[in-house]
């Protein structure tokens, strides 16, 4: 160990990214590549009655136009293909913006223009687009991925009835879209039955499985499919599942016999790759006058489709965060004529917003400090609760919470009201089976390979750090290669899973390789270490020496060059998922005459177990908080009530925060290794920051204005 782990090492891929040397999926120049462009439906429900492609086919450069009549028939894959149907296989329309034709041409511009010449006639039916228009149709969906949508602990109804104090409120949030900067893209290259995809994917192993399944009717096997995805320009969950454009594009490439590339437009990304579902939640909370929770009845309703009933915004924090003996959770759904929803950046935020706002309402009702109320309800056992308490202590101190006057509208600065709000940050993290291959070459340098991927969060950097540390090698001597399914299988980069899944195997591989090289050294008569017991040899900055005797040293380069062959090892290690917690404090400023609001300060503290890189961890906090501000104040996909069509499918009218909306964010970490994690004590952390921000903002708004907002986004009209 050379103390690399934990250090705020700068991005090892930073230079490649800022100089443009990093090759993103669509940057790959494949010889002879054709370009595809999707034609999407302009009705939300009904059937194609007529489709005329002759004018499109007559356009310059057009190679093929596929419709449901002549599209190759594919097999409908299961999870993580989230849609219950494959477009372009029949005439039925399930949502607005569904693919109805695929145009392939020599250039992108030719394909796009030809797409304007595909004539489609529909037998359209009136769609239902909003939850409010179908509230009577809510039902309890079947378990999704073995997780039931109803959970009972104790007798919540009776406890609620008997409660000394009750908070009973509804909380709502609209449809939202992931909107990574890099659009979804796929380039398909067939060689016989072997398929290579240059893909923008958060889970290349997942994608390989879906693609192989879709083409199994053609005799394509899992090992025939290779997915390459070394860099992502953001995913936020959108690129975890595999979406139809990948399969349609690959099918076209196969039928035409040439490589084809597809890049979705920004507008297409509002119907082609999932979203956060429109959501309503009714919370009934019971407590004692001392602020001890006695009952939670949590009934949520999320948007489903006509073709599937998957719930992604689960009420985990209701079940797990506070020690309440009587809980009844129901995650209901309503079928609408909309595209499939999916996992989107910290999916538990959707439900958590309501819980953490309700906790503030309870605190106000009881006259108990909201921090104190939460601490009173933390589970008594387990170190999770203890560390969350520490998060509250750290962040409250740095924020100056003790100076807060709890009365609404009590704090002013000039013409503005100042509001302070707080909420718990919490999210589940998953773990996916992972392995890592490590090669120490004859030059004494190491290369780690793993079929996980970098989604912009610092995966290359942290893995490189951990491997260099485990080997006892300078970080510059370690190269990490990710994003290729020919590497050892590794984690999906979603569900906060990457670090918790991959660090154990990477670290294990580094230790095995170090031991293997030491074994070579001590057995080599030409080495100064010849005959030293292997367990007495340590490695540091590329040198190998007996503990306490730096003078008698060999190097990785020396050992390996004499050995003449690389050392290759594979690392693997099991881990288990869990939760990461934190506390976030927010200050808002409110101009009462204009009803104008801004977030002026954010301070947060977290318990992610051991912090592997303080810089990337802080980066994750900045990102999470920024998205939390967007969730609270502006993000909103507008779906037309009459046509079920997205009205704002672009970054000009789908607002996300800009720098001027985002104050500087202060973050603190408990930074104590989690005993239950084999990832050097690190827990999954990615999705935790930001989960509490919408509620903290809502709570700060109440403090500033005396007004309780329960429906995001909190736009100016709601503050008038």
């Amino acid at each position: 160990m050379t103390g690399l782990v934990g250090r705020g090492v700068a991005r090892v891929d930073g230079r490649a990214k800022v100089t443009g040397a990093a090759r993103y999926a669509a940057d790959n120049e494949v010889t002879g590549v054709l370009h595809g462009h999707l034609v999407l439906s302009t009705v939300a429900r009904g059937e194609i009655t007529e489709i005329d492609t002759s004018a499109a086919l007559a356009q310059p450069g057009v190679v093929a136009v596929y419709t449901h009549r002549d599209m190759p028939r594919l097999t409908l894959p299961s999870f993580p293909f989230l849609k219950g149907f494959l477009p372009l296989q029949d005439a039925r329309i399930h949502h607005n913006g569904q693919p109805v034709a695929y145009v392939v041409a020599e250039t992108l511009e030719q394909a796009q223009e030809a797409a304007n010449h595909v004539r489609v006639r529909y037998r359209a039916e009136r769609p239902t687009a909003h939850l409010a228009d179908a509230l009577g149709e809510a039902f309890l969906p079947r378990p999704f991925r073995d997780r039931p949508n109803e959970f009972t602990r104790g007798d919540a109804a009776a406890a609620l009835k008997a409660a000394e104090v009750r908070i009973e409120q509804d909380y709502t949030s609209p449809t939202m879209h992931h909107n990574p900067i890099e659009p979804h893209t796929s380039t398909a290259v067939w060689n016989g039955n072997s398929l290579t995809l240059y893909e923008s994917a958060q889970g290349i192993i997942f994608t390989r499985g879906v693609v192989a399944k879709a083409f199994e009717g053609f005799g394509v096997r899992l090992e025939d499919v290779r997915i390459i995805s070394p860099y992502l320009g953001g995913g936020f969950g959108a690129k975890g599942p595999t979406w139809p454009h990948t399969l349609i594009n690959a099918a076209a490439a196969r039928a035409i016999g040439r490589p084809v590339k597809v890049v979705l437009t920004r507008a297409q990304m509002f119907t082609m790759n999932g979203h956060r579902a429109e959501y309503r939640r009714s919370l009934r909370i019971g407590a004692t006058r001392q602020g001890v929770l006695t009952a939670i009845v949590d009934t949520s309703t999320g948007q489903l489709t006509r073709t599937e009933e998957s719930i992604f915004n689960t009420s985990d924090s209701t079940l797990n965060l506070y020690a309440c003996p009587n809980v009844h959770v129901r995650q209901m759904g309503i079928r609408l004529d909309l595209p499939s929803s999916s996992y989107m950046r910290s999916p538990e935020t959707t439900a958590h917003f309501g819980l953490e706002t309700a906790m503030d309402e309870l605190a106000h009702e009881l006259g108990i400090d909201p921090v104190e109320l939460r601490i009173r309800n933390l589970p008594a056992t387990g170190n999770t609760g203890n560390h969350l308490q520490e998060c509250y202590r750290m962040a409250a101190k740095a924020f100056g919470w003790a100076r807060r006057d709890p009365r609404p509208r009590s704090m002013r600065d000039g013409n503005e009201y100042v509001g302070w709000g707080v909420a718990t940050e919490t999210h589940t993290y998953s773990v996916f089976p992972s392995s890592a291959g490590l090669t120490v070459g004859v030059d004494g340098r190491a290369t780690l390979r793993a079929a996980t991927q970098e989604i912009g969060t610092g995966t290359y950097t942290v893995i490189t750090q951990v491997v260099a540390d485990g080997l006892g090698m300078p970080i510059e001597h370690v190269t990490t290669l990710l994003g290729d399914t020919t590497y050892p299988p590794a984690s999906l980069s979603a569900a906060s899973a990457t670090m918790a899944s991959v660090i154990g195997p990477a670290s294990h591989a580094a230790q095995s390789a170090r031991d293997a090289v030491i074994a070579l050294a001590v057995a080599d008569p030409r080495s100064p270490l010849h005959g030293v017991p292997a367990q007495d040899v340590v490695a540091e900055r590329g040198y190998l020496f007996p503990r306490g005797d730096r003078g008698r040293r060999d190097t990785y380069h020396g050992v390996m060059s004499r050995h003449g062959r690389p050392v290759e090892v594979t690392g693997s290690k099991q881990n288990t998922g869990g939760r990461s917690h934190g506390a976030v404090f927010v200050e808002v400023r409110f101009d009462p005459r204009l009803a104008a609001l801004r977030v002026s300060r954010v301070v947060a503290a977290y318990d992610p177990g051991r912090v592997l890189n303080h810089r990337t961890a802080h980066g994750q906090v900045i990102g999470g908080v920024t998205w939390g501000i967007g969730f609270a104040l502006m993000e909103h996909t507008v779906v037309d009530r009459n046509t079920a069509r997205v009205v704002n499918p672009n970054l000009s009218t789908y607002l996300v925060p800009v720098c001027a909306d985002t104050p500087s964010v202060e973050s603190f970490f408990v930074d104590r290794p989690a005993e239950d994690s084999t990832a050097l004590g690190a827990r999954g952390f990615g999705e935790t920051p930001g989960t509490g921000v919408p509620a903290a903002i809502s709570n700060a708004i109440f403090h500033a204005t005396g007004r309780r907002l329960r429906d995001v986004p909190f736009t100016q009209d709601k503050l008038l």
């Binding site: 999407l40 302009t42 607005n96 913006g97 511009e109 796009q112 223009e113 304007n116 507008a267 005459r593 204009l594 009803a595 104008a596 801004r598 104040l633 502006m634 507008v638 037309d640 009530r641 009459n642 046509t643 069509r645 009205v647 704002n648 499918p649 672009n650 000009s652 009218t653 607002l655 925060p657 800009v658 001027a660 909306d661 736009t715 100016q716 009209d717 008038l720």
Partner: protein, 327 residues
């Protein structure tokens, strides 16, 4: 986007001649709006006449007016010392527009001709009377938070998005045009049209006419002016409501006032009746409130934009109080 022809014009006359001689052509300067419209399929042209080389980027001044060339970039006008001193509302409106990158590219003439941000107009898959006359207006029964409460018709309620146009409307600017039939000048009040039954006609440009210059009268009124823009995020966003105001006081009494508004009208919205309420009277909370009430007297709000009726009055009150020093 379909293929289009492209010609670089060398003189204004050259540009007008080329445009007249090509089918379905339009002029392009910064292209910050036009190219998006063409990419989205909201607008299609067979020929683009590039006017960036024309000698129209200057900002000149004489005794009567500030004369802003149509190709002056937003940034240059916003930062011009004379503009900042004599017409702060103009500088503030420009700096509240778009982003620094867009302001570096976008020209004054193009800014005045930018199209509405109405989502139905921008989406080729939706009906829209402005884009396809007679196809219907989904905004009236659909989502209309960003839409107009004044000046709408049964055919269209889209707002004009330009902040600059609101400021120029307050300052009584004149738009200078060159067309196949020669040059003419149009007061900005007549330049923007109400949608009526022809929402596809937004401005009083005749076919092939090019904006060459915008003249802003030099008045002492303009020196006491301000632009306030309220929006859903801090920068790079169009107005929910905006106010351009100029105020000339004699003691506590309003000698003259100019008021124009963005985000609430189907065109940059001037209200001379609200100005008349203030003229010759002391500037107080009462007179300010009365001007606000007059402004929204004929407002016709829709489902999602009712709040603008209240918000625009508050914005007006803020601007007038600050300009007039009312506590």
């Amino acid at each position: 986007m379909r293929n289009f022809g492209y010609t670089v014009a060398r003189t204004p006359e050259d540009a007008v001649r080329i445009a007249a001689g090509t089918r379905n052509s339009t002029f392009v300067s910064g292209g910050t709006d036009l190219l998006n419209l063409m990419r989205d399929g909201a607008q299609a042209h067979d020929h683009l006449v590039d006017i960036n080389r024309l000698d129209l980027a200057g900002i000149a001044v004489d005794r009567q007016a500030l004369r802003i060339g149509a190709l002056a970039r937003m940034r240059h006008v916003a930062e011009h010392p004379l503009v900042r001193r004599e017409s702060p509302v103009l500088s503030e409106a420009l700096l509240a527009s778009a982003s620094p990158q867009v302001r570096n590219m976008a020209a004054i003439g193009g800014n005045l001709l930018q199209r509405t941000r109405c989502g139905y107009f921008r989406d080729a898959g939706s009906a829209c009377n402005k884009r396809v006359p007679g196809s219907g207006c989904p905004a009236i029964t659909g989502y209309n938070r960003g839409h107009a409460i004044l000046g709408g018709s049964d055919h269209c309620i889209a707002t004009h998005p330009s902040d600059l146009a609101v400021a120029l409307t307050a300052l009584d600017a004149t738009v200078h045009l060159l067309g196949p039939d020669g040059a003419r000048a149009v007061p900005i009040a007549d330049f923007y049209l109400l949608p009526g039954s022809t929402p596809e006609r937004e401005v009083a440009l005749r076919p092939g006419e090019l904006i060459t210059r915008v003249d802003v009268p030099r008045t002492s009124l303009a020196a006491q002016s301000r632009y306030l823009k309220l929006r859903d995020r801090a920068t790079f966003e169009f107005a929910v409501v905006s106010v351009a105001a100029a105020l000339q006081m004699t003691g506590r009494t309003v000698r003259d006032a100019r008021l124009a508004f963005g985000g609430i009208g189907t065109r940059p919205w001037r209200d001379t009746r609200a100005e008349a309420v203030l003229r010759g009277r002391p500037l107080t909370e009462t007179t300010i409130a009365e001007a606000g009430r007059v402004l929204v007297r004929d407002a016709k709000p829709h489902n999602d934009n009712r709040f603008k009726v209240e918000l625009v009055q508050r914005a007006l009150a803020r601007v007038l109080s600050e300009l007039g020093g009312v506590r």
